[in-house]
Symmetry: C2
DNA sequence: ATAGAGCTTCCAGTGACTGGAAGGTCAAGC
DNA sequence: GCTTGACCTTCCAGTCACTGGAAGCTCTAT
């Protein structure tokens, strides 16, 4: 199976597959004589695993750990559960931060007439308002919501 | 006021102030003879505006628009409101995506015994499970939750 | 006079990609 | 057998919003 076929079979784009190989998430597959990557069904299976993990918001680093947990037949299910719940906590923290922002802005917008006049409580709040909306999230990938 | 004082007065770090200047969000302030940046109280006011906007999750590009709306005394409040509500929709979309991920993972974790045995429904789901958890969010800054 | 805090510029790295250039390979149709 | 075009290869650059750090200059206090 070449990379294009592996991509459509797994739902991970060819570009991303190469990227995951480059950063060491997956091993280099064997090559055809022409130098094309050649994927086994096990490798495609792993790519599908990766796509599902990614869809649940796991980072590449976390996926490395997940793959290790997957292949370690002797690890306890509590190891996996702990790992998952740590991630859930992080997701929920970010979620709450986004919700707080949305709510603050929504409340502000509700008090704005939204007509042709310039007077606007949203701008006024930004200009001289109270302090922030949210407990902020933290994540390496997004410094914006980063730091402790 | 030098950059350190402007930073503590506004809550935007000196590093970020320089960055915002570099990317054109704010104008270059005047300089002292020694070459130090010198901020007026209007400029510090603008930095506070920026910090509040950032705390509501606006991107640098969006903040450029917000600053324009702020300084345009003739724009209608409906312009601001529309801008804000578009952002609210985006925040809520991302929020729902995170919530869907968290819920999926939480449910999965609930069915996991979390004991010393290796059998684990979380890993099994990733390995051969159903499709994704979420309507995905989109944002330039975070390709991970990006694309249409 | 000197120490050290704070300022300056500039460069590099972060995470998870995406886009594109330049060039090699493969399968199908003529 | 040749051409076409879809697909593969590598490599480099850009995205976003920062952060860290080096090298060197300035200011303030002792």
């Amino acid at each position: 199976m070449n990379i294009g076929q592996a991509a459509s079979a797994s739902g991970v784009s060819a570009k991303m597959i190469r990227y995951y190989e480059q950063v060491g998430l997956i091993a280099s597959p064997s090559r055809t004589e022409a130098g094309y990557r050649d994927y086994s069904s096990d490798e495609v299976h792993m790519l599908r695993f990766i796509r599902r993990a990614r869809d649940l918001g796991f980072s590449v680093e976390q996926m490395t750990s997940l793959l290790a947990l997957w292949s370690d037949r002797s690890r306890a299910s509590s190891d996996v559960k702990r790992f998952a719940m740590t991630h859930v906590a992080e997701l929920e923290r970010k979620m709450r931060a986004l919700r707080a922002m949305a709510e603050t802005l929504r409340h502000l917008a509700k008090t704005c007439h939204g007509d042709e006049r310039p007077n606007c409580p949203i701008i006024e709040e930004l200009s001289s308002g109270h302090e922030a909306a949210a407990p902020k999230p933290r994540r390496a990938a997004s410094r914006r919501y980063g730091a402790h």
